[in-house]
C-alpha cells in the first residue's frame, strides 16, 4: 500500500495535522517533533500525494504549453528552454501540439483546465482572442510567447517581429537587391515581419515582388520549396528571398539548388529564428535571430510570478531580434 500522511502520523505518534505542518513548513512546531516527523517520513519514504493537496486548493505545479508543432525546431528549442526553466522552478510542462488548429487549441484548454494546471503558456497561432479572454476572466494565469496581441492587454513575452522584418529587408537592400520575395504564413508574427519588411522597402521606394502570397502548406520545408519554385519560374523572379522561418528558408534553398541556381550568387536567402538548422544547411543561413533561450526563461519566470500573485499589472516583455550574417546572402 502507498504510504500516506496517516501512516506517518501514526508512526510518529502525532496527528496528521502536525505532519502536514512539517511538510509545509508552517505553523508552530517544536524542533523535537519536527525532527521526529521528518525522520519517520524519511524512514517510510513518504511522498505527499499532490492530487490530494491540489484538491485542497494548492497548486498542481504543472503548466500547459500549447505550441503549433514540436517537430519545428524553433518550437522544440523553445519548448526545451521553457521546460528547463520550469524544472529549475519546480514546474512540469504538459506539451500540446495544436497544428495551428483552433479546435485542437480549445480541446487542450478544456482538458487541461479539468486537470487544474496552474497556468497556460500559449505559443500557438491563437488567432481567436476570445478563448484567451475567457481564461483571463477566470483568473487563470496566461502568458503568450513568440506571439503578440498588441491591441490586447495580456501577459506576453514577444519578439519585435516588425523590427526583425525591417532588419532583414535592410540587409538585403544594402546588398543591392531591388527585387525581393517573401515566404510567409498568414499568422500574426509573420504579418508583422512582413510589415517591417515592407516598411524598409517603402523607405527605399521599393516594392515586394508581385508574386507574393501567403503559404498554406503545414510542412514548412515543402511550403518553402513550392513558393521558391513559383518565384523562380516567374518572369520577374526576385534576386533575394526573405523566408519567415529557417525551415521555410531551407525549403527555398533546396528548390533553388534543384532548379540549378547558386545560393547566394543567383539567389540570396535570409531566414528567421536562427535555429540549429541554420548552421547545418548549405550554405550556412543568414538569418534573423530570436533569443530562444531568453524567451523560454522569461516566459516561465513571468508565469511563475503571476501564479505567485506578484504581478498586479499585465506585463509585456519585448525581446529584440538581431541579424546573423552567414553565407546565404550576398
Amino acid at each position: 500500500m502507498k504510504v500516506t500522511i496517516y501512516h506517518v502520523a501514526k508512526e510518529a505518534n502525532v496527528s496528521i495535522a502536525t505532519v502536514s505542518k512539517v511538510i509545509n513548513n508552517n505553523g508552530r512546531i517544536s524542533e523535537k517533533t519536527r525532527k521526529k516527523v521528518k525522520d519517520v517520513m524519511e524512514k517510510l519514504n513518504y511522498r505527499p500525494n499532490m492530487l490530494a493537496s491540489a484538491l485542497m486548493g494548492k497548486q498542481t505545479k504543472t503548466i500547459g504549453l500549447l505550441i503549433p508543432d514540436l517537430a519545428n525546431p524553433f518550437f522544440s528549442e523553445l519548448a526545451r528552454s521553457i521546460e528547463d526553466r520550469g524544472h529549475e522552478l519546480g514546474y512540469n510542462l504538459v506539451i500540446c501540439n495544436t497544428d495551428y488548429e483552433s479546435d485542437k487549441e480549445n480541446q487542450y484548454l478544456a482538458l487541461l483546465m479539468q486537470k487544474s494546471v496552474d497556468g497556460f503558456i500559449l505559443a500557438s497561432g491563437f488567432e481567436n482572442l476570445e478563448k484567451v479572454e475567457e481564461l483571463m476572466k477566470q483568473d487563470i494565469p496566461v502568458v503568450i510567447v513568440a506571439r503578440d496581441f498588441p491591441m490586447f492587454s495580456v501577459n506576453a513575452v514577444a519578439l519585435d517581429d516588425f523590427m526583425g522584418g525591417y532588419l532583414a529587408a535592410n540587409h538585403l537592400i544594402e546588398l543591392g537587391h531591388q527585387n525581393l520575395g517573401v515566404v510567409a504564413r498568414d499568422l500574426w508574427s509573420n504579418r508583422e515581419r512582413l510589415r517591417g519588411f515592407n516598411h524598409a522597402l517603402a523607405e527605399n521606394d521599393l516594392k515586394i515582388n508581385s508574386n507574393f502570397e501567403f503559404i498554406h502548406e503545414i510542412d514548412h520545408i515543402k511550403a518553402g520549396r513550392e513558393m521558391a519554385e513559383k518565384y523562380i519560374n516567374s518572369d520577374n523572379g526576385p534576386t533575394a528571398i526573405f523566408a519567415c522561418n529557417d525551415l521555410l528558408a531551407a525549403g527555398v534553398i533546396q528548390m533553388a539548388k534543384q532548379l540549378g541556381l547558386n545560393v547566394p550568387k543567383d539567389l540570396s536567402v535570409i531566414g528567421f529564428d536562427n535555429t540549429s538548422i541554420a548552421t547545418i544547411i548549405e550554405p550556412p543561413l543568414t538569418t534573423i535571430a530570436q533569443p530562444i533561450q531568453s524567451m523560454g526563461k522569461e516566459v516561465m519566470d513571468l508565469m511563475v510570478s503571476i501564479i505567485k500573485g506578484e504581478k498586479e499589472e499585465k506585463s509585456r516583455i519585448t525581446l529584440l531580434p538581431s541579424l546573423i550574417k552567414r553565407k546565404s546572402t550576398v
Copy 2:
C-alpha cells in the same frame, strides 16, 4: 465559483450519486433522468474535476515522457508522434528533458509519481535498470522506447539497432570502403549499432579505424565536428564515417567541409535516424531510417493497453531500420 457536481445535482433535483453515474455512463439510470442531468451539465457548463476523480483511484489520463533532449530532432519528432497518438487516445504528456543525467531522471520520476501519472514512457539513456525495476514492482506501467534492455523483462518498443549498424556497414563496404570510422556515444543503442557495424566488418575481415572512441560532448553537432577533426587529422584517416545519429553526421560533414574535404568524394558519411535534417543538409544525407511515426504510435498504444490491463505478459515490439540512400556516400 467553479461549478461542481453538487451544483448540477441540485439544479437537476437528483443526488450527486446520480450525476456521477451519468458522467461515467454506468449504473442504471432512466433515460429521462439521464437527459435531464445532461441538460443541466450542459447549461451549467459543468466540467468534472479530474483531480478529485483521480484521487478516488481513477486515472489521471496523463503520461510522463522522459527523453534526453527535446532540441534533438529525433527526440522532438518522436515526442511529437507520441503526443499525437496520446491526444487521439485521450492522454496528455508531461515531457521531461533528462540530458542523459540519472539525477534528473530520478527527480522527474519521483515528482511525476507524486502527481500520479498513469505511466511512464522512457526514451532516456536510463543506464540504471534499478529505477525501472522499482517502478515495475510498484505496478506502474512503464514502456521503454528507442532503447532496449534485451536481458530484462520490460515492455518496449525498440529499433533493431544491431541491424541498423549492420546495414550501414554493408552499404559502405559495398561502396568499396575499407577504412571506416564511427562516431558514437556510450549508450546502449549506440553500442548495439556499433556491434552490428563491427559484425559486418568482421565478415569482411575489416576492422574499425583505430582512432575510434566514444564521444562525451552533449552538443551533438559539436561532438561530430570534434570527432571528425580527430579522424581527418590522423595519419590513417578513414574514407567513410558512420555517425550514430543525423546530428552527429551533420557535425562530421561540417568539419569535413571546413577542412577542405569534399563529401562524399573525399569522405563518405552515413547517418542514423532519418530526421528532417537529413534532407536539409548538403549533401543530402544517406542514413539509416528509424520509423519514428510508427514508434510513437506503437509505444503509446502499448502504454494504453497496459494501463487498461489488457496485457498480461510483457511485450517487446522491434521495428526494423532501413537504408535511405542519398548523396553523402559514394
